[in-house]
């Protein structure tokens, strides 16, 4: 007998293995070696989360009860995959071009970035997924119970519940660890995708192994197997046409609309080309998963006792024949099926909940400006973690409420029917420009209500939610509203009845409300972009003018995308526009790009609302929309081009003006250079001369003597320093400097710089240790000089009550960088351009005590060393970024 303890050990070992695989995949992706993680094969395998415990255990049970009907669940997706050219190709393209994060985001984004649609679809999907999650918990629990029974422990309800709870907790931890490490839902779940791919192989291998064992080990070969089928209770072909067609449609539709399928099909898709491979490879996977189902069912019915649960034949068959190793493998297959589904489904649902429910509520409760002051990133990640726990908890509650006894297949179909209610809005949305937001809302709500009434609520059993009386006579005696016989149409299969009515009424409402209502401008814009995604991927812009400040947008973007990514985005745009630094011109195009990037993290509706807080009143108008209307396309094409041209000219003019301003400023400074030097030299000289005359006249008290000679001394030192700086700068500028290249760690240089600058006023310096062991091959003394300058600058200029300077070493796209960020009020935008020029002092220069040459020297040093120094806007206080040269 298989020891139950061995099973627990194997399951734990397997879970640890998945952790290691996920972790290794994350690590290799972080190091940029993750290319192989995004191959067509991995993509195809990740789609296998369609095959859950419902497939692994339930299909055999289904076949044992209803013959070949179980195949409909795999034929539907097969047809959809083979017809990828129609729908999936378009969905994937839209998903990528609009940075769609979930099925709710797709619908919301298509219908004018509607918040209400996002909420409705999210709630619907959470509701629909709950039975399905319960199903997974139920199957894992049952499989544990089988082994417990085999080793002599008959489990009671309490034991089962406890196992289900532990499984749910374990899954929540795994999903939170690997599913919410990054905020961007768009591309970065390498760890999870890899773990799923491994699980896909394990479950296929396990099922095929049991199948091969059954055909060749038990039946004695394929022809004997056929004979066994012919002799079994399933031998006769007696398939209901309505169920065959209805369920094929249902599974094909659910394949497109289930949040977890959308997640792997569209959101995690790295390359449209992968779809081509998956379009035949995934049906092949499904075929392989289905091939042995009937043989296993037939042999199970033949060999096992009448009372045996057919849902567990895959497990109990090898066990009863004494093949413990095979049973163990089969257990792992089922465990894989259940866990991979739960992980992806909870991630997809958590993304939807955080993007479409939590963030909008938070945004509207905080009012304008919240995106700048609040910590959106933490909020979103926190919301996702909570949602993962919450969704799994709901699944657990459903499992407890439903008693955990129902057939797996029946539970699965309830979920499918719920998810499919999004289909009309989704298909209508991507093929029909006339679909409107109100139409989509009406259709989905009607479908939702019909589904709840005819299938979901009755699933809790008679009298649990809907009283038996209502089931038989309808609510308030209204017979035509009976949950299982709407409009007095009886004699239909319960399942087909629910699918037929919910989808039909849903589509009718969707169509007619769409036809009767008029879309808002943004809906029309998005509609055109979705429907014609292959024609113009660019399309009209949702923003026509922009009054936003680049720095505000950068602050917001950093809070959502993370500092490094936001800075890269802004830097690239600024470079594209030919500007220095991190702040590009805020053009409507750039706002569009930014909104899309944000949408990849928080969904289209939220991103639009956030950007809208900065770019008020400039959203698209009906007139702008004519740009996408077919009739006027040509004229507008032309006027668009004119507009683009004039915008281009305006931008060029602005750049010229800016360059000119800078040149003027520079030449004025060059002109004034001598007069500046004169001023800087004469000022200390004045004090020296005046006090030496005073001292020369005699008659001072000893105190006065000390004080005045002290002043003379200080001013003489100041004069010397100024001359040193001037010489230093001129040597650097003329390129006559000889570099003394050595190796040194960043830590040592910073240590020296901090102690050299420590003479200034008290300031807390926070350093991120650990990373600082980085070795540089450069002129160590010169680089240290830059650090000293930056630290003492912060000491002089930081105006916070408790000045704090953070020194942070990390990798950015430019290489290794060292950020010096203080908590003062920072440097105003108009001054950021000139701080690196000579003699540019922004505040009271007496306080500074220098001549305004420090940063100019820093810049020259960095140029000589082959590094870079720049001002980093949008960090709260003043922040300087040093791109380190010669890093190893």
């Amino acid at each position: 007998m298989a020891s139950f303890n061995v099973l627990i050990a194997v399951a734990l070992f397997y879970a640890v293995l998945l952790f290691v695989i996920a972790f290794a995949a994350e690590r290799s992706a972080e190091k940029g070696r993750g290319g192989w993680l995004r191959s067509p094969l991995i993509y195809t395998l990740s789609l296998s989360i369609y095959c859950t415990a419902w497939t692994f255990y339930g299909a055999v049970g289904y076949a044992a009860r209803s013959g070949l009907e179980f195949l409909t669940i795999y034929l539907g997706p097969t047809i959809v995959m083979i017809g990828w050219w129609w729908i999936l190709r378009k969905l994937v393209r839209i998903g990528r071009s609009q940075r769609i994060t979930s099925i709710a985001d797709l619908v919301s984004s298509r219908f004018g970035k509607s918040t209400s649609l996002g909420v409705i679809v999210t709630l619907l999907m959470v509701l629909a997924a709950t039975p399905y999650l319960a199903l997974q918990l139920q199957s894992v629990t049952q499989s544990f119970a089988v082994f417990a029974a085999a080793s002599g422990h008959q489990w009671e309800g309490q034991d089962l519940a406890r196992v289900a709870l532990w499984v749910a907790v374990g899954l929540a931890i795994f999903t939170i660890l690997f599913g919410t490490r990054n905020l961007d839902a768009n591309e970065r779940h390498h760890g999870i995708v890899m773990a799923i791919a491994v699980e896909a192989v394990v479950k296929l291998f396990a099922l095929v192994a049991v199948g091969v064992f059954v055909i060749w080990g038990v039946a004695g070969g394929p022809s004997q197997m056929i004979d066994m089928i012919d002799a079994s209770p399933l031998s006769q072909w007696d398939q209901s046409t309505a169920r065959w067609v209805g369920l094929t449609f249902l599974s094909g539709a659910a394949f497109l609309t289930l949040p977890r399928m959308f997640q792997v099909l569209v959101v995690e898709n790295a390359d449209e080309d992968h779809l081509r491979t998956a379009s035949w490879a995934f049906p092949l996977y499904l075929l392989a998963m289905s091939l042995f189902v009937v043989p296993i069912a037939v042999v199970g019915l033949d060999l096992l006792s009448i009372g045996a649960n057919p849902d567990l034949f895959v497990l109990t068959l090898p066990l009863s024949l004494g093949h413990n190793g095979l049973a163990m493998l089969s257990f792992l297959g089922g465990f894989s099926s259940a866990t991979s589904m739960v992980i992806v489904a909870t991630i997809a649902l958590a993304t939807m909940i955080s993007n479409h429910i939590v963030t909008p509520i938070w945004l509207s409760s905080r009012g304008p400006g919240a995106v700048v002051s609040g910590d959106v990133r933490q909020l979103v990640i926190g919301a996702r973690r909570l949602a993962i726990g919450g969704v799994l908890f709901l699944g657990y509650v459903y499992y407890r409420l439903s008693g955990g006894g129902a057939a797996l297949a029946a539970i699965g179909l309830i979920s499918f029917t719920g998810a499919v209610q999004v289909l009309p809005a989704m298909i209508g949305g991507i093929f029909w420009r006339g679909a409107t937001r109100l139409g989509a809302i009406a259709g989905i709500l009607v479908g939702l209500v019909v589904w709840l009434w005819t299938l979901f609520l009755p699933s809790f059993g008679p009298d649990a939610v809907i009283p038996v009386e209502v089931m038989y006579n309808g609510p308030f005696g209204l017979g035509f509203l009976r949950p299982e016989a709407l409009f007095n149409i009886t004699g239909m299969d319960r399942q087909i009845h629910a699918i037929m009515w919910s989808v039909t009424l849903n589509s009718i409402f969707f169509f007619f409300v769409s036809v009767l209502t008029f879309p808002r401008p943004l809906e029309r814009l998005q509609g055109a972009q979705f429907v014609n995604v292959f024609e113009h991927s660019e399309g009209a812009r949702a923003w026509t003018t922009s009054t936003a400040e680049a720095e505000d947008l950068l602050i917001m973007a950093q809070r959502i995308l993370g500092s490094a990514e936001a800075q890269d985005l802004f830097l690239i745009e600024a470079q594209r526009q030919g500007k220095q630094g991190y702040l590009p011109e805020v053009t409507p195009d750039f706002v569009q790009v930014l909104e899309r990037e944000l949408a990849g993290s928080v969904g289209a509706a939220t991103a639009h609302a956030m950007v809208g807080q900065f770019v008020q009143g400039a959203s698209v108008s009906v007139e702008d929309l004519i740009a996408v209307a077919d009739e006027a396309a040509q004229i507008l094409e032309y006027s668009n081009r004119l507009e683009a041209k004039s915008a281009e000219q305006e931008r060029t003019a602005r750049q010229l003006r800016e360059a000119n301003e800078k040149l003027t400023a520079l030449s004025i400074q060059k002109d004034a250079f001598l007069s500046q030097i004169s001023h800087e030299l004469r000022t200390p000289m004045t004090s020296i001369r005046a006090f030496s005359e005073i001292l020369g006249e005699g008659g001072m008290t000893p105190d006065q003597l000390t004080r005045y000679s002290g002043i003379i001394h200080t001013e003489a030192v100041r004069l010397t320093r100024l001359l040193d700086d001037l010489l230093d700068l001129s040597v650097l500028e003329n390129g006559q400097v000889t570099l003394n290249i050595q190796r040194g760690t960043v830590r040592d240089m910073l240590d020296r710089a901090v102690s050299a600058a420590a003479a200034g006023k008290a300031m807390t310096i926070l350093r991120k240790l650990g990373d600082e062991a980085l070795v540089l091959e450069t002129d160590v003394d010169r680089l240290t000089q830059v650090f000293i300058n930056l630290i003492s600058n912060a000491q002089k200029y930081c105006d916070a009550d408790r000045p704090v300077l953070r020194i942070d070493l990390h990798r950015a796209s430019a290489g290794w960088v060292l950020d010096f960020t203080d908590n003062g009020s920072g440097i105003p935008k108009q001054s950021q351009q000139v701080i690196f020029e000579k003699f540019s002092r922004l505040t009271d220069h007496r306080k500074a005590g220098g001549a305004g040459l420090g940063l100019a020297i820093c810049r020259e040093i960095m140029v000589r060393l082959g590094g870079e120094i720049s001002y980093l806007p949008g960090q709260g206080g003043a922040a300087f970024r040093v791109v380190l040269p010669g890093a190893h």
Binding site: S675, S678, H679, E680, R682, T683, M685, T686, S687, I688, R689, A690, F691, E693, I694, I711, T714, E715, T843, D844, H845, R846
Partner: protein
């Protein structure tokens, strides 16, 4: 009590030197280090003489001088301007704006004292 001199200058050591020289000679010396509020200060407590630096934080000495001359209440106050830049252009500018006397740093103490005496007496 001696006559009142207002020194508008932001370099503390120079302020100290001028204050020392003048108070030893019997003048009452007030000092002010900020350019932006200098005109208001002159208006509220009009001195007998203003000693004005050019490079000031907030507002330059030239701007202060122009505003001072434009204001009837302060237009007649004599102004001794001290500058470390000392270019001809600065001198011309100061004269156009109605400076009473212009002097470059570094100065001799005796020279400053002499000028102050002359300007207030005249």
């Amino acid at each position: 009590m001696g006559k009142r001199v207002l020194v508008i200058e932001d370099e503390p050591n120079i302020i100290e030197a001028i204050s020392f020289i003048l108070s030893r000679d019997g003048w009452t010396v007030h000092t002010h280090a900020d350019g932006a509020s200098a005109n208001a200060k002159i208006r509220t407590t009009p001195p007998d003489l203003v000693i004005l630096d050019v490079m000031l934080p907030g507002k330059s000495g030239f701007d202060i001088l122009r505003d001072l001359r434009a204001d009837d209440e302060t237009a007649s106050i004599p102004v001794l301007m001290l500058t470390a830049r000392g270019q001809t252009r600065d001198r011309e500018m100061a004269q156009r704006l109605g400076v009473t006397q212009f002097m470059t740093k570094p100065f001799s103490n005796a020279e400053v004292l002499e000028s102050v005496r002359t300007l207030v007496a005249g």
